[in-house]
């Protein structure tokens, strides 16, 4: 799965929680979940649960802590998909 495809599958998940809807339209690898998309920090665990479901993976606590932007999310998903 290439990065563009990953972002395409990630976007609808993130859009659910993003309070800045304009920022969702211009989502890219550098987009920060809290700063750019204005996702409520309490919702980060919900984003992770939705990602787990979408990609059928399980994200460990350590990875959860650093999954704060699109780039980190993609790295973590790629990593988990490899070890599946």
């Amino acid at each position: 799965m290439d990065r563009a495809e990953l972002i395409a599958r990630l976007t609808p998940i993130i859009a659910t929680y993003a309070q800045d809807k304009d920022a969702v339209a211009s989502i890219n690898e550098t987009t920060d979940f809290i700063k750019d998309l204005k996702i409520n920090s309490a919702n980060l665990v919900d984003v992770i649960l939705d990602v787990e479901e979408e990609f059928d993976i399980e994200i460990d606590n350590l990875s959860m802590e650093r999954m704060l932007n699109v780039n980190a999310a993609i790295e973590i998903i790629e990593d988990k998909l490899k070890t599946k």
Binding site: T16, Y17, A42, N43, V45, D46, L49
Partner: protein, 425 residues
């Protein structure tokens, strides 16, 4: 110098009417909101009838964002938020979600008995199935007791005290009296007061098990709730929410707000589970003291009361309640005020009862009527021994109503009585 406190906004989510217009019409017509509940039947409840507000998904979407509705499973918060936001709008106040500045002079005291009991059930199952991490972020805010005041505080941007009270079936009346005190003593200008109750089998089961709900009307739900009737056989469980915007008179006049009624005062006490009082039965002396205390606090004479809105749940205790009113007010027979119980049409809405019933009482003052009691064509003779049957209207009465006394009584032997008056300069 104390502030006078008035009611300037009302919002209601009741089994027989959602929204002020529908609810007003329903109480005037004596329309019952009690229905057969297939889920209670399936779960083999003794009482298979209940009062539940009807809300469509489209309607709910006007009050909650799609994100808020994800994994949302708390009927109490649902009812409370709708009633609270409606009351705020009804008072002509802005719901300004874009402002960064909270409204420092407005707060809420919004009571409940439990919060998100269905959400709680769902999470308990997940935890026991070792799925804890799948709970996500939505459990705490929906199951903490103060979930309802927290939701409302955020939606309305309240910057004053934002809390939840809980005291069984007096919760709603208590919340109004606590909010009243806060404005009276100048600590807030506006308070959203009210209460809500979850619906469904998991909130009602305990009452069913205690055998305090009627099992005789599963085939005749509309006749099931029978306060003051000789054939009263237990209460019908209900649910919903009521919300009132309380405001200092100065603030209301300055805004040119509609004033529904003035709160003259009230009293809250407990029988201490001594004498005739127990965890579940009232100490009559305490009830009488509560009513008398309310009159004294409000500065009115018993003779000034035009109508009583009772607690009157449709159990054997109804006659005891009437006797307590009669002794406390020293009024009986034809001299007794009009009395009604909203529970005949909506059932016993538990922690929401006091606030919904106070709204009905306030509508009576504002529109000059006494709403009819239904299902008491066979009045309990123990009651008509004390008061004249004409004082228990079974048809809508269009009459001047100046002062209403409303009382609620609850488990834990707790009592609350509030005195409401038509506003006059």
């Amino acid at each position: 110098m104390h502030n006078r406190v008035v009611v300037t906004g009302l919002g209601v989510v009741a089994p027989n009417g959602v929204g002020l217009t529908a609810f007003t019409e329903a109480i005037k017509n004596g329309t019952s909101g009690i229905n057969h509940d297939p889920q209670l039947e399936q779960l083999q409840f003794s009482c298979q009838i209940a009062g539940k507000p009807e809300l469509s998904d489209d309607f709910i979407a006007q009050y909650f964002s799609p994100l808020e509705l994800r994994n949302f499973n708390s009927t109490g918060i649902l009812y409370g938020v709708i009633a609270g936001m409606d009351a705020w709008k009804n008072a002509g106040l802005d719901i300004n979600q874009d402002s960064d500045e909270p409204d420092w002079d407005s707060g809420t005291i919004f009571g409940t008995g439990t919060s998100g009991i269905d959400k709680f059930r769902e999470s308990i199952y997940k935890v026991d199935e070792l799925q804890l991490r799948k709970l996500g972020s939505t459990v705490v805010v929906q199951t903490m007791a103060s979930g309802i005041s927290a939701y409302l505080g955020g939606k309305l941007g309240l910057g004053n005290q934002t809390t939840t009270n809980s005291s069984a079936c007096i919760t709603g009346t208590e919340s109004i009296l606590m909010a009243y005190e806060r404005i009276k003593t100048g600590q807030a200008t506006k308070m959203l007061a009210g209460s809500t109750s979850d619906s469904g089998p998991y909130i009602w089961a305990g009452f069913d098990a205690m055998k305090v709900c009627t099992y005789k009307h599963n085939q005749s739900p509309k006749q099931g709730s029978r306060p003051m009737s000789a054939s009263a056989s237990g209460f019908v469980p209900g649910s919903g929410a009521g919300a009132l915007v309380l405001e200092s008179l100065d603030s209301a006049l300055k805004r040119g707000a509609t004033i529904y009624a003035e709160i003259l005062g009230g009293h809250i006490n407990s029988g201490g589970q001594r004498g005739s009082g127990t965890m579940t039965a009232p100490n009559s002396i305490a009830v009488q003291r509560c009513i008398k205390g309310a009159l004294q606090n409000a500065g009115i004479k018993a003779s000034e009361i035009d109508a009583i809105n009772g607690h009157l749940t449709a159990t054997a205790k109804d006659a005891t309640e009437i006797q307590n009113w009669s002794i406390a007010l020293d009024r009986k027979n034809k001299d007794f005020p009009y009395i009604n119980s909203l529970k005949s049409t909506i059932g016993h809405c538990l922690s929401a009862a006091g606030s919904i019933e106070c709204i009905a009482s306030i509508l009576q003052l504002h529109q000059d009527f006494v709403f009819p009691n239904i299902n008491c064509e066979d009045l309990n003779p123990e009651i008509t021994d004390i008061i004249d049957f004409n004082k228990i209207p079974q048809q809508l009465l269009n009459t001047n109503v100046n002062i209403v006394a409303k009382a609620s009584f609850g488990f834990g032997d707790v009592n609350a009585c509030i005195i409401l008056k038509k506003y006059a300069k």
